[in-house]
Structures are given as C-alpha cells and as structure tokens.
C-alpha cells in the first residue's frame, strides 16, 4: 500500500470501516512511514477535539421535550384506530385524530373544525322537536334525543346534530344559552371522548359562568380521558385564584395518574401562592415518582421560600 492510498484510507481506518487485510497493511505502513504516521496522529487529534465539543442534552431539556411530547400525544388518537381506518368508524376516527395534530389546534371556539361524533346521550331530553328545527324553536328540555355531532364554524356558531327518531342539526351561537346547555351535556357524554373534548374546548373560554365552571371542574376531576382533563384545566386557568378551583386542583395534583395533567395543575396552583399550595406540593414530593414533577415542586417551593420536606 502506498502513501496516497494510506492517507485516503486513514479516516475509514479510524472508524473501523476497512477490511481486515487493508487494516493490517495500513498498520504496517504507518509503522514505517513518518508522514503517514503524522496523518494518523492528526486524524486522532481531530476526533478527540470533536469529542470534547460534543453537545449533550441537559436533563431539563430532555424533561421539557418529554412533557411537550406527552401533551401532543394526548391530542392524538390511538395508533390502533388508524390501522382499521378502512371501515367507516376507522375513517371517522382517522379524520378526527387529525384535528389534534400540531398546527391544527383550534384554540378559538369559533374555529372551523368539522366533527362527526358517534355516541349517544342517554335520554337527557324529553319532548318533541319540530322538523327542520332552528334554534328559535329549540328547547333542549323538550325532546328525546342523542347527540351525533358538535360542529363549530368560522362565524362564531356551532351546529349540534341530534338523534331522536332521525338525526337533526341545530345551530346557534356559542353564547346562546341553549347551545351552552347542550355543550355542557355533551361534555358529560360518557361513551364519546371526542364529543367531550370538543365540547370542553368550546366551553373553556366561558368559565365565567358558574355552570360552565362546574362542568370544567367535573371534567378535570372525573373525566377518564387525559386529553379532556387537560382541556378543562386550560379553561380553569383564568380562575386559578378561586378557592373551589384551587381545592380541585390540589386534589387533581395528588390523585391524577397522568403526569401531563399533574404538571399543568402545578402550573395553575403556583400562579397564585397560598399556604395550602405549599402543603400540597410538600405532600406531592413525598409520593411523586416522576423526577421532572418532583423538580418542579422543589423549584416552586424554593420560590415560595418554603422547605422542600415536611417535618
């Protein structure tokens, strides 16, 4: 092997990417050829300098990435659902799941997002509903119905599709009392997390109403779906100073199985300091197994000049 071939092979030799016989030839050549040996030394020095300047993720950055991912995943549907997307139900779920993808979040209740939700209310309404109903003739208490969909549009209205003997669509503005009542009922729809999450999304900017706030508190405490609970927490953000809300947040923090929900609850609680929060955070540290959450609690307690442990 001549010098030219050896010099060209040195980077590959360094990374163990040459055949064993070529390796032997390079080693023998380096042994007897000073300029090539110098090339070899330079290769090692380059690699060593690059190693010293390798970047390693800080634990905080990793924790933040995990947190962000967890939140994004809650907005996604189960991958299992997409596998069966060839049937109508699968296609619906596929379409629905796309609503939660990053960049397609509909923060504003008036966002134009179609939602065809299956699932039924258990006869919450009694009475009749005239054919071709409009909101003017709509009285939620006066019909036997199932809710098939909740569909907001760009103009600040929402269409709600109901089943009685056949499906009907009602539409109205979000500030309409009857629409809000339907949405509050939809937020409790047990069998359909899609309807619940959509309804809570639409209601979350209307927490100034005690009834809506009650629904949000109920969702954050009892909804089995973490995506719905997170949405409800967003809706409670503006009321984080309210005594009842804080009591619920403390319960959520100590009982919720979902780390993303607990993190959000911490954020809301520490936005307004009170002695009860200190005690809640101290209790949480003692039982929390998530390192990031423990770290958040410790930081929050330090910021409040409180001790990390209980004595």
């Amino acid at each position: 092997m001549n010098c030219d071939a050896v010099v060209k092979s040195i980077p590959f030799y360094f990374y163990g990417e040459v055949a064993p016989d070529a390796e032997d030839a390079i080693e023998e050549h380096i042994e007897i050829c000073a300029p090539c040996r110098m090339e070899w030394e330079r290769q090692k020095a380059l690699a060593s300098a690059l190693d010293r300047h390798a970047l390693a993720p800080s634990p905080e950055l990793l924790a933040e990435c995990r947190h962000d991912l967890a939140r994004a995943i809650y907005r996604e549907e189960s991958p299992e659902v997409r596998r069966s997307a060839s049937d109508p139900w699968g296609l619906f779920r596929e379409a629905f799941s796309s609503l939660w993808r990053p960049g397609i979040r509909f923060r504003q209740p008036v966002g134009a997002v179609a939602l065809i939700a299956l699932g039924f209310f258990a006869a919450r309404f009694t009475g009749t509903w005239p054919a071709g109903a409009s909101l003017a003739s709509f009285t939620p208490d006066a019909m036997v119905s199932s809710i098939r969909s909740v569909q907001p549009d760009n103009a600040g209205s929402v269409q709600i599709s109901l089943d009685e003997t056949r499906r009907r669509v009602v539409s109205g503005r979000l500030d309409d009392h009857n629409i809000q009542r339907l949405l509050m009922a939809a937020a409790r729809e047990q069998d359909n997390p899609g309807v619940r999450v959509e309804s809570v999304e639409l209601l979350k900017d209307r927490g100034s109403s005690a009834a809506v706030r009650g629904v949000l508190l109920e969702a954050v405490t009892h909804d089995p779906n973490p995506g719905v609970r997170l949405k409800a927490l967003e809706g409670l953000k503006s009321f984080a100073a309210d005594g009842e809300v804080r009591k619920t947040l403390a319960q959520v923090l100590l009982k919720d199985q979902n780390a993303g929900v607990r993190i959000q609850a911490i954020d809301l609680l520490i936005a307004n300091r009170d002695p009860a929060t200190v005690s809640t955070l101290q209790t949480l540290i003692g039982k929390e197994d998530n390192n990031y959450i423990r770290m958040r609690c410790q930081n929050a307690l330090r910021n409040m000049n409180a001790s990390v442990g209980t004595f």
């Binding site: 990417e17 970047l55 390693a56 800080s58 995990r66 991912l69 991958p79 990053p102």
Partner: protein
C-alpha cells in the same frame, strides 16, 4: 471469554425480543408501551438532533416531530429493519430538512436578544469536557468556534453522515440504509466531511 460473548449475544437477542414485544404492544395502541419505547431512545434522538442542528429549539422540534411520526406510523412498521434504523431514518430526514432550510435562509446566529439581554442559545447545551482553567477555556472556546464553522461548512448530508458515524457510532452500511443511499456514497460523504474539517481545524489539531 466464549461464555461472555455467548452471554452478550443472548442478552442482545433477549433485548430484541423484548423490543419486538414492546413495538407490537404499541401497534395495538398501548400508550404505556409507547412511553417505554420513547424513553429507550429519546436521549440518543435528542443528542443526535442537538449535535446535528446545534440549536436547542430545533432539537426540541425534531424530538417532538420524530416521535409523533413514530406514534402515527408505528402500525406501518413491519420489522423488515431494526426499529433503531427506522427511527433514525425518521430523525435524520427531519434534521436534513431543517439543515436544508437553514442553508437557504443562511446560518442563524447562536445569540438571541432577550428581555435579559443577549443570550447564547448554545448555553442550553452541556458541553462535554469543559475546563475550569481560564487559558484552557479560552483555547476551548476558540476550538469550539472553529468546530462550529467547520460543521457549518459541511453540506447537510455530509454533516449527517459524519454525525451518525462519529458521534452515534453507526456503521456506514447502516447510515447508507437510513439515508436511502449506498454504503459507498456514505463513505464518500464521510471522507469529504473529514477532509473539510481538517482543513478548517488544521492548525488547532
């Protein structure tokens, strides 16, 4: 010795079986299994993105986008390559897109203005092997700047191949497979990358 080697092979085989079980569970929609899968790989994914993009914000974006793609497409994974190869293919594709966009809009400054004054975004990184000695630190800073320049001179593909070979320790054949190219093409990229860096860093190493 032979027993140790057999033990290592056996441990790898067990790990592969466990991983396959985990992946199948994710394909069935098991969220806990997905979390386990993420945690098995996410540190190396973040490290790869950080070293390739040299920007914490971009690395964070890549992390999220890569694992969301995995989540959405895991049902298409057919075990015809290793999960590691599949995942890294996703990550490197996203990183390559970032690098290409960056080439178009020119390299961003690492220093950003904040309410507290100018902040170097690279401070979010922990640099390995930092030294307390002031002279040594200054030399390191100089070398670090030159390394940044040298990496900036590489094409996105050269940079990716170099990162995967040097920092991630992947074989050129695997790198070629990940990037949808041949081992020979990966080898050429590595050679060009090494030569360019030696030119830029020549007097310092």
């Amino acid at each position: 010795m032979l027993q140790d080697a057999a033990g290592a092979v056996s441990a790898r085989a067990v790990a592969k079986v466990d991983e396959a079980t985990l992946i199948r569970a994710v394909q069935r929609g098991d969220q806990d299994a997905f979390e386990q899968l993420v945690r098995a790989y996410d540190q190396s994914v973040l490290r790869l993105a950080m070293n390739l993009l040299r920007s914490p914000e971009d690395a964070r974006d890549v992390y999220q986008e890569a694992f969301l793609r995995v989540y959405r497409n895991i049902h298409t994974f057919r075990f015809d390559c290793s999960f590691h190869t599949w995942l890294y293919r996703i990550v490197t594709n996203i990183c390559l897109d970032h690098l290409r966009k960056r080439k178009v809009r020119r390299e961003e400054s690492a220093v950003v203005e904040t309410a507290d004054g100018p902040v170097d975004r690279m401070d979010s990184f922990e640099q390995e092997g930092t030294h307390a000695n002031p002279e040594r630190r200054m030399w390191n800073t100089q070398l670090g700047d030159r390394i940044e320049n040298a990496l900036g001179d590489l094409t996105p593909r050269e940079r990716t191949v170099f990162e995967l070979r040097h920092y991630q320790g992947l074989r050129l054949r695997t790198i070629g497979e990940m990037l949808g190219t041949s081992e020979e093409a990966a080898k050429n990229c590595l050679f060009r990358a090494t030569q360019k860096m030696r030119v830029v860093l020549g007097d310092l190493v």
